[in-house]
Amino acid sequence: MMELFIPAILTIITAATPLLFAALGELVTEKSGVLNLGIEGMMVIGAITGFVTVHLTGSATLAILASLLAGAIMSSIFAVLVLKLHASQVPTGLALTIFGIGLSALIGQSMIGVAYQGLPVISIPVLSSIPVLGELLFKHDILVFMSIVMVGAVMWFLYRTRYGLILRAVGDSHEAAHAMGYPVIKIRFLATLFGGAMSGVGGAYLSLAYSPLWVEQMTAGRGWIALALVVFATWRPGRVLLGAYLFGGITILQLHAQALGIGVPSQVMSMLPYLATIIVLVIISSDRSRIKLNSPASLGKSFHPSR
């Protein structure tokens, strides 16, 4: 039983981690009032950047840093268009996704078929030797640990620090924040960069750990699922964790079901994460009051400082 159970949980963790990174990043971006629909594009760029970097330098650390930077650069294009040039957020996010998918395919042309052994696993001394739990909780690659740390860090930042309070205030009412003298554009820019960096890392996790190789469009809609996760979580970091692991579970469930040869066509099983996203969205969104009270009030609205 355990022999089956532990690997299953471990794969759920690996499937959840990229979603967790991307959704946490987007949560912070959205909390500041910016809706960046370009997660898919930033993730896929993060994936290829990480993969190319590890291939060129052999350093996983450098690869992670490079993907972080690449995601941030991608989001800065979005931020300039939306925050400085007042472009509308929805089409700009779509453009980011289209551009990211194209550019990653271009960069990745020579990377197809190249293999990487995956991120090294870190075993935390002593704790990792606890039976069962040690295996489940304390023997992972660095990014899994980081993703959990980031959940705590984002919670602490948003609800315990003054900067977090200011960021939430900007997302609630940019006019009021501006009237109080807070630099709305700058705060949103930084929040957008953070979202991009996190998406980049989330993408890198796919190409460095989840399935360590490069395939065109390997994000396969995870960026969009991450967006749905933020709604599912009603903009709360703790629930993003829950949601990411839930979706990780669904992804793995369908993989295992396929492997076990259950008499359902593989395509139907592959639909599960997408269908689950729709179902979850429907359940959460139908409570309009809850969405209205939890979503940042100025989400997606363009800010033009009045004279």
Binding site: L37, G41, I77, L81, L85, H86, A87, S88, V90, P91, T92, L94, A95, L96, I98, F99, G100, I101, G102, L103, A105, L106, Q109, E216, A220, G221, W224, I225, L227, A228, V231, P265, Q267, V268, S270, M271, Y274, L275, T277, I278, L281, V282, S285, S286, R288, I291, H304
Partner: protein, 362 residues
Amino acid sequence: MLPDMIKRQTPSKMMVYLSPVLALCLTLLAGIFLFLIMGVSPLDALHAFFIEPVSSLYGLSELGVKATPLVLIGVALSLGFRAGVWNIGAEGQLIIGGLCGGAVALYFYQKTGFYIIPLILLAGIAGGMLWAAIVAFLRTQFNANEILTSLMLSYVAGLLLNLMVHGPLKDPEGFNFPESRMLSDSAILPTLFEATRFHIGALIALLVVAVGRVLIAKTLLGYQIKVMGDAPDAGEHAGFSRSRIIWITLLMSGGVAGLAGIIEVSGPIGQLLPSISPGYGFTAIIVAYVGRLHPLGVLFAALLLALTYLGGEEAQMILNLPVAVTGVFQGLLLFFLLASDVLIHYRLQFKKRLTVETVVKS
């Protein structure tokens, strides 16, 4: 030094039309830069991309073939975008349209008759509408964001098509390849010119442009769409129903996307394959924007973006460039367009050089 942005008192009508031109120029500049990085002569590359494909009659006809689905979906999406209904899952509606129409065509495999083509076109429309109706239903009943649901359904549609060509619709004599039979001649759209693939679907696309133009400019429905996109509360004040507009725009765009799908299947492709579109549904989003969400503009924008598809193929053959360059170009074009659009509402003012007076003041 960066120029200042000064808000115009009224939006510039000229910039509405100039902005796409400016965006195209900037995209070409970025393209030159990109080709230099890739170690390709920009002149050769641009020639391969933009001139070569349209330097023969056959090339022009192929441009029409590629532009047809883009025009169709572009017009339909622009109606929705104007109403603030973000159907970005046209790709899925296209696939389901192709699948439904294709299935009907395969059902009538051994029949002949004038009624077959209209019937499969209708089946395609119905399929696309059905797929979009799910989105409309979830949006109006459960407030579920149409961006995410329509996109998720695109992935589902792709898998569904894949499933069907691996299973029920697989060619029984096809050596187990995941493809359907070739459609019979009576289910294939007639071509307009000998030895080309230019088919009557292009005429349907032109018809849709004309209908779209009248609808948006002259009818009450078009007016309602514009009001709902600009100021939904004013729309409610006038007695227009938000959910009705959501339903109508989604059904229209879904139906037209489905039509585009079946036109692809019974036109240039001629059978069902695991993939029947190189992302027309997504490219049409760019088409709609570059075309200023205006049916006539969409027509031109579709030709331009169709050219990037042809150019991508051409560049691959001549210069061995990856096809992915097309996607980069399309993304860049939309970026530059969105950036250029700032000039519709703002004008740029370059800061005056620092004079003694201003220095003393600061």
